[in-house]
């Protein structure tokens, strides 16, 4: 893994906007950053791909055991939601996608930082925009990126096994990035031969005569992709309706993804697979024997509420955002500091995409310091054998 500086294309904002990336600049700073790029060689790709598939396998195995034995108290999920999740897990488990955030220093095994298994974003830039950049700047070059193809194939697979109706609704919150992420997913579904409709989460209706969720045209919602976290959804006014037997199976991602997008997963994986090369030591409530650690809230999102401590000294911390509903237990996990890829530009984190159950590509985010947040730069990459 290497990082190179390169002049950006003179008209890069227009170039990336052409492919839908309207949020290329955040707070006056480029979020899409093509003044540099990373290269991965075949060994890097193989390590990341293998680690991603292995971690996903461990996660599925863990979810299965936790639900079967009902050992889910550590996740802070409301009791009614936990009960509904256990019941729903008995049915089809069709899931779509996720993104592991991995620490990778270019030499040792990639380490799991977290699994964005419920509502991953940075998808358009990873699947489409960095690919167009690569073919523009380095025609014929290769990239660790078959995300688009994998999504189309996944919709086809879900459709073939009978778990999808003719039309899927896609719901999102009122944010441009979320709208465009959902739009990309709708485009992949269209390419798979499916019909779709889009709506805001706040426009989802509950029809009390028919006991069903409906769209803006009062049509019943049979299958709903939601770019909206389960931990918020179950705590909102319609949350209990989402848990009803006829309603709890309509969602993509399914309820059990709640367990994977929760930071409680990190110490639980370490308890189950201590010393695993793709895991970092992690503990509930206190750092244990760790001298260098990262403290993360159970329900942290996009780098919020993170504290990095090295040799007893706080290196960096981010405020806990006031987002989402009240009622979360203020609980933390402590994870060992990971070996990141550092350059003068800061630290790089690998966003490794899983579609269905297979690794299919990466996006690389670069932060000035230790903590990757929602404004950390997205830097494209190439494969250079």
């Amino acid at each position: 893994m290497r990082r190179f500086d390169i002049p950006p294309r003179p008209d890069w904002p227009a170039k990336v906007e052409k492919w839908g990336l309207t949020y290329h600049t955040l707070g006056g700073q480029p979020y899409w950053y093509e003044s540099a790029y990373y290269t991965l060689d075949d060994t890097d790709v193989e390590r990341i791909e293998n680690a991603t598939n292995e971690l996903h396998r461990l996660c599925l195995e863990t979810v299965d055991d936790l639900i079967r034995t009902r050992q889910i108290a550590e996740f802070g999920i409301p009791e009614a939601a936990a009960t509904a999740m256990i019941e729903d897990y008995k049915g089809p488990k069709g899931h779509l996608y996720g993104r592991f955030d991995l620490a990778y220093d270019g030499e040792s095994e990639p380490k799991l930082l977290e699994y964005n298994a419920d509502t991953p974003t940075a998808l358009l830039e990873a699947a489409v925009v960095q690919w167009q950049w690569s073919q523009d700047r380095f025609p014929g070059s290769d990239q660790f990126n078959s995300i688009w193809e994998a999504l189309v194939a996944r919709w086809q697979a879900l459709s073939a096994d009978g778990t999808l109706p003719g039309k899927i609704h896609f719901a999102h919150s009122d944010s441009d990035e979320d709208l465009l992420t959902v739009s990309l997913l709708r485009d992949t579904a269209t390419s798979a031969g499916l019909r779709s409709d889009g709506l805001l989460m706040s426009d989802i209706g509950w029809n009390s005569d028919r006991n069903t969720f409906v769209d803006a045209a009062e049509a019943p919602i049979r299958k709903l992709f939601k770019l909206y976290p389960w931990e918020w959804l179950v705590r909102e006014d319609f949350g209990e309706k989402a848990l009803l037997p006829d309603m709890r199976s309509i969602w993509i991602e399914p309820m059990w993804k709640m367990l994977l997008s929760n930071k409680a997963l990190l110490p639980i994986l370490w308890q189950r697979y201590p010393g695993h090369p793709n895991l970092l030591p992690a503990y509930f409530d206190e750092p244990g024997d760790l001298t260098d650690f990262v403290r993360k809230p159970l329900f942290s999102r996009e780098g919020d509420g993170i504290t990095v401590v090295v040799e007893g000294v706080t290196q960096e911390e981010t405020p806990e955002a006031e987002m989402g509903p009240a009622g979360f237990e203020p609980r933390f996990v402590y994870q060992a500091v990971a070996p990141l890829y550092w350059t003068v530009a800061g630290a790089a984190v690998i966003g490794s995409w899983v579609v269905g159950d297979e690794s299919c590509g990466v996006g690389i985010r670069e932060a000035d310091g230790w903590i990757t947040t929602d404004t950390s730069r997205f830097v494209p990459h190439l494969i250079q054998p």
Partner: protein
Amino acid sequence: MVFSEMKKEIQLVYVIAFSSLILTGCAGQRRDCVDQLGNRRPDIECNRGTAGSRFIYGGSPIGGGRISGGSYDPGTGSRAGGVGSSTSRGGFGSFGGGGS
């Protein structure tokens, strides 16, 4: 695996349509939950019907967390069910930015 040999046939329809609307400022109507004095409040207060709170559409933010202008009429896509409607809305989506 050689990924470039997969010949990406990316067909963006919704992405291009909605990004064009965003770039031209037409993606959606601004909506803010305000109290009786026009102070911005969390959406959940309007969704829950907190006394004095209501949505204002198409307003503009001014200093001090206040919203100026706009209309209490949502125009198209009314949020409340009509007379006799058995559909209620606003039970999800009180919080913005659901991605991670």
